[in-house]
Amino acid sequence: MFGLDKKDTTLLIIVACLALFAPFILNPFPTGSAMAQFNAGYPDLMQRFVIFGIFAIGFNILFGLTGYLSFGHAAFLGVGSYSAVWMFKLVGMNVIPAIVLSVIVAGLFAVVIGFVSLRRSGIYFSILTLAFAQMSFNLAYSVLTPITNGETGLQLTLDDPRVLGVSQTADGSIPVTSLFGLEMRSTYEMVVGPWAFQFNVGYYLCALIMLVSFYLAVRIFRSPFGMMLRAVKSNQQRMNYTGLNTRPYTLAAFVISGMYAGLAGGLMASMDPLAGAERMQWTASGEVVLMTILGGAGTLIGPVVGAGFIKYFENIFSKINDTVLHQWFAFMPDGVEDFMVFVVHPFIGKGWHLTLGILFMLVVIFLPGGLVEGGQKVKNWIKGRGKSEDSKSGKTEPAE
């Protein structure tokens, strides 16, 4: 189906089902129960899952296939956000032109940065992209204030022209982002017994776009172009010696992944129309690297898993506080309870970055293939057959 083999079709269908039923899947606990804090099925978080999923899928096309580790992808995300917000300010609140513009602008930006950065490889490439990203961040933060509104961030105002829409609604407020009149933030709430499931227009738009980008990524992975990129990863020098110029291929991969990042930025601005410079800081690039590695670089589903994983824990872990912990460990004797809370305390709430850092180190050290490889290992272990790891499907390429 869709030009994919059976396995990939299954994968695509699974991802589609997950995305479609996410409001149910992520909302397993009844509202008001003690476990309700683990629910992630609210529009804001679900949107973030898929948007960062897109970002990570795009990053994976560059890093997973070619092995070029870019530390500057947040710049494209930021550029995408800025252009989308400008589109909202100037043209109208329809998200389609905004998203299109953000992809185009991020793509052009990626052509320039990629053309320069890809002249070097390895660590030099990482540093060059890092330098470009920091430069863009500084430009956005201070120099280009007329365009980016500096440290305040770019926001919509009532006196924006919006030539194809209205500057302000009848009741005098800023119009909301919409898809041909379908408001992004409109949410239908379905109440089933104690559960409340939320269906959000913005989420479904993002999910649809994520599915399309996922499909495109699968096609890229399976295409001769994807094969060429893998060859670059395994030995670029040999490729060059065979008389093949690898630069156009790597540049194409860089631009494609930059466009994915721009798309993610555009969607982010579509869901919540503001853009700030901190989105471009290099630690934000670090985050997408973390997602891709954690899920499994070079695998199809890995980046999406990693993005979901990190965003879930970022939002859920940081909500847990000492009171909640005391509830958890209440069944223990007092002294033990306090000790357990004391032990767990540094890893939750504001300290969840610590958990993330440790987890990330463990993954890099012991599971270079990320969570996907971990899942497969567990599967094999359960099957209990002494199959060698190489005999598995060609789906997993360890991250290197």
Binding site: V116, G122, I123, I127, A131, G351, G357, I365
Partner: protein
């Protein structure tokens, strides 16, 4: 003329921090061939060594002073630092005042130990793995170190003062025969510059004039041959990693009075120091030092109002622009050696 000199002085000062961190990074590249993204975290830990020493020296107990009363008429409570009670008020206060310089004594063993543990416990397993993995694992380590520090010291910057002797500034211009008030310069910045020059000189002398350093240099050039001569080169490289950590840590200790330590200062410096290393040339120690000072001076020139009025905002991006230009025209950096980190 005096304005230019002032900018050069400012730049040397900023450059000192860059140069020290970049020197440590280059030592690690050159010896172990590892890209250490946790180096900024080591710098940060150094600064927090100063904070720790300050806290230890300020540990105090409360006594009731009979001679005074507080505003309610009760006998007043007085806080006395242990150091003051042990050494007498005069000497004690003087010791507390010198907490930042004293922190150097504390930081050296701590940083050597941290470097040793880091190399043996983590980095050792990454020699054979690709640079991307090294970057990633040390990036993770940097996050962890940073969060641990944040957990113990909080997220706010902690003011750490220089000794009273070095507080304030003085008229540097008069000494050189300029008009008074032309070049006012803080004492501590001069101390920082002198200190970094001392450290840099020390590292170079150590590598140049000791047998140990000679072996390490030989190992940098050809690790296998040195190993075949029956020298335990891995052990020496481990020690060099400790030394590099100590250099970063000392840079941090002395930097504490200039900018109050906070938990993410390492990340802020890390990117810049990588840029410095790349500009100087991977694996070249003199290159790292030169590029550190060069970029520091350039940055402070770019922040002059005269320059900013011609090209607005140049001070924010000058370093990156220079780095990109240099990398594209001289791919190995200013003084890069052949074959280091080229894959």
């Amino acid at each position: 003329m005096d304005a230019i000199l002032l900018q050069i002085l400012n730049g040397l000062d900023k450059g000192s921090a860059y140069a020290l961190i970049a020197l440590g990074l280059t030592l690690i590249f050159g010896t172990l061939g590892v890209v250490n993204f946790a180096h900024g975290a080591l710098f940060m830990i150094g600064a927090f060594c100063a904070v720790t020493v300050q806290r230890i020296l300020n540990l105090s107990f409360e006594t009731i002073d009979e001679t005074k009363t507080d505003f309610l008429g009760n006998p007043a409570k007085v806080k006395t630092a242990y150091v003051e009670s042990w050494f007498g008020p005069e000497t004690g206060a003087a010791i507390i005042d010198w907490s930042v310089p004293l922190a150097i004594l504390f930081a050296i063993p701590v940083m050597l130990f941290i470097g040793y543990v880091m190399e043996r416990g983590l980095i050792k397993h990454f020699y054979k793995r690709p640079h991307a993995d090294q970057i990633l694992v040390t990036f993770g380590l940097a996050i962890v170190l940073q969060e641990v520090v944040k957990y113990f010291y909080g997220a706010n910057p902690i003011p750490t003062g220089a000794p009273d002797v070095f507080k304030g500034s003085f008229d540097f211009g008069v000494m050189l025969g300029f008009d008074p008030n032309a070049i006012i310069y803080p004492y501590w910045r001069l101390v920082y510059f002198a200190f970094s020059a001392l450290i840099i000189g020390g590292v170079f002398a150590f590598l140049q004039f000791t047998t140990f350093g000679m072996v390490v240099r030989a190992g940098m050039a050809d690790r296998e041959t040195v190993g075949l001569l029956g020298i335990n080169i891995d052990r020496r490289f481990t020690i060099m990693f400790g030394v590099a950590a100590a250099v970063a840590g000392l840079a941090g200790v002395m930097y504490a009075p200039i900018n109050s330590p906070n938990y993410h200062m390492g990340m802020d410096f890390l990117v810049l120091s990588f840029v410095v290393v790349v500009v100087g040339g991977m694996g070249s120690l003199p290159g790292a030092v030169l590029a550190g000072f060069l970029l520091g001076v350039l940055e402070s020139f770019a922040s002059m109002n005269e320059v900013k009025s011609i090209i607005p905002g140049i001070d924010q991006i000058i370093i990156y622009v220079v780095a990109i230009i240099i990398l594209l025209t001289r791919p190995r950096g200013l003084m890069g050696r052949k074959g280091v980190m080229e894959d």
